[in-house]
Symmetry: C2
Subunit: 459 residues, 2 copies
Amino acid sequence: MSALSSLPPALASLSTDLTITDSDIIAGYLRDESRFTEAGTPLAVLAPRTTDEVATCLRACHEAGIPMSTRGAGSGLSGGANAVDGGVVLTLHRMNTVVEIDRANRLAVVQPGVITCDLRAAVAEHGLYYPPDPGSVDFCSIGGNVSTNAGGMCCVKYGVTGDFVLGLECVLADGRIMRTGRRTRKGTAGYDLTGLLVGSEGTLAVITEVTVRLLPAPGQPHTLVASFPTLDGAGQAVAAIVDAGITPSMLEILDRTTVQAVDSMTRMGIGDDTAALLLVQHDGVDAPDVLAEVEQHCAGHGADVVVSSDPTEADMLLEARRQALPALERLGDWLLDDVCVPCSRITELIAAIEGIAQRTGLTIGVFGHAGDGNLHPTVIYDKTDPASRDAALEAFDAITQKALDLGGTITGEHGVGRLKTEWLRREQDPVNMQIHHLVKQALDPTGILNPGAVLLAQA
Amino acid sequence: MSALSSLPPALASLSTDLTITDSDIIAGYLRDESRFTEAGTPLAVLAPRTTDEVATCLRACHEAGIPMSTRGAGSGLSGGANAVDGGVVLTLHRMNTVVEIDRANRLAVVQPGVITCDLRAAVAEHGLYYPPDPGSVDFCSIGGNVSTNAGGMCCVKYGVTGDFVLGLECVLADGRIMRTGRRTRKGTAGYDLTGLLVGSEGTLAVITEVTVRLLPAPGQPHTLVASFPTLDGAGQAVAAIVDAGITPSMLEILDRTTVQAVDSMTRMGIGDDTAALLLVQHDGVDAPDVLAEVEQHCAGHGADVVVSSDPTEADMLLEARRQALPALERLGDWLLDDVCVPCSRITELIAAIEGIAQRTGLTIGVFGHAGDGNLHPTVIYDKTDPASRDAALEAFDAITQKALDLGGTITGEHGVGRLKTEWLRREQDPVNMQIHHLVKQALDPTGILNPGAVLLAQA
């Protein structure tokens, strides 16, 4: 009660059931999983259960000028959910209901706190499929996925989170509730405010309900793993697959550093002569034919190839991909990047990163979504050593710059957050950034929504 | 020259090569193909050849406060390209170059005046596929497609125009040039300004270049036509197809009125006992299996079914769909609507429209995209008869209201234009409309871009 009584009146007037001021509990809500991002000390954590409660929280913060960071599961990797000094953290984990599954119209309505894998499981019971599968699918939330326009391994065939969002309910900065979008497959009635909110990382509104499009359940995928003696061979195989008009449902790459880290952890015996590993799945009725063609392209570029249609065996084949980040984490502290380049440039990017690793003296493992050019270079450093930290940041910057130089983007699926605000200004032209600020002003005129994320104070 | 000298100085100072003031020529640029929309008398038509010339035109109009309607091919059906009194019409038909086709990264860069079928043909030469295929595909432009987020028959499998737009170059109201988006498959660097501009119908910026995502060329489609003795049978067959998890590459419906109109024009002999016609295509490697399954669902609901894998025969089978609007046009003046409802409600909508036709004493043919619930009820009336005009508007309103009542939207693919500005306010909540106006103000503070389209003067 003493903590509560020290709150500004606007917050103190909120139901105590909504408001968490215990500093031990607050400590768990200060930041997401990113590195090198700032997190402040909030006054309180607010945990609403309904849209009306979210509106109440926003009205209070708006009137008192209290900044708000919104948080889903806190699994973000760019600092988008980090707390702000003197602000509040709004956590949506209590709003975790799958409101509706409409099989006839292939859609679902969900609250933002629903864990992504729970939505996937719920719709699977109706023979339906929600494709987006970020690496954090087992613990991230739909609201966070929408806010960052999250991707995953499915994107090469199915697209990203935003491709599945039909409509939203949200609460604006001043507490007003707004609906956007529709329940129909098509619609062009007015501006695409749904699309504007997707990927806006809590800076324009708080999303309180999401209507997602679903697909029929796909077939059981067939799986292929190809071990290449050279990086160029893997790159040429990817190019050949694309050139042949093949769109597999998964096309992942692991570089030599990552393969060796996985091998040293798991003793799989894949590390010795492997310069790059491709992992490919296809879930169409033509899976056997498609993977036979993929196998030819891989073998033609020098790879050893294993193919399986057995789910258990496929699961084992994918283990190397699943263990990529855990294996790299064992090597030290990690700084995970997320850049996306045109597919044809991925081997150039990986080769450049090898050079950056040599120059900075750091280990950098690269893995990610070769099928759409979205890679996750992972810089290993020692956070207790200032020189190592500096080197990690230097490597991170060099990688991000290289992605831009190759015609790519600074973030494929993690978002800008607080990690890449400076980089956003390098990617987008000054006029584009000015329009960003005008849009922000239009929706959040007093700037209380997630200040410091996406946009810097000045255009 | 006398016409030019009567122009305001801002326009008179533009290169005469850009400026058309001959009233006979201007007459061809006054409006699109919509009915019941207002078109004013412009001062001039401006026909730039480059982005810089577009910027010059906008700077001139911005400084002098001259409103501008932007026009692609003028094939729109909602009045979005109509001229405004005292304004200019900016026509982009001279900017009609396919700038780049990048096969390795499956993308193309095109100017807005490129005719949609020309882009489709150009990329097909590289073994690639640009799916969006509005009914006007042979004469509409990519810029217009992007501005209205146009659809077509492909959408049930492939999605709408916006699903293929990766990035844009545009000119803002004050003449500044802005780039949005990217060339990569994925990207979440900042707000989705690309998506905001898609479907904004020339009210937020003038689009001067479009980067589109492409797909590998699909297989030769197999085609099925099913003639149903009852409307309910057709609706139940569509529901059964969806329920079976089938996503064909085309799933079109024609109602009894449309079938009879087609039959009376073409003497195909399909009209007598047909209450509804379904036309289905599938272009996957599994086309034979999928269409066999579709055939079962159709036959199970009482249909006579014809299937063909032969392209020439398929072309003949689709003739009824192609002739739907021409056949209805023969019956009188027409007012073409564009509503979209959840797929499960299409027979309810069609049945309601039969009732509306009886009540108003008008012929109303319904055809469209059953697979995504996007139908085009076409009201036949006599424009020389005020009572018939009133009845047509009454029917149009009743149909649009019914679509909203069924959980649908006022426009699936034609856009709001000047035809449905009042209806937009009925579909969207007041807060949503206020945000529309704030976004409009942010991008076009003096309101010169296409005034009267999408938004009414006041929220």
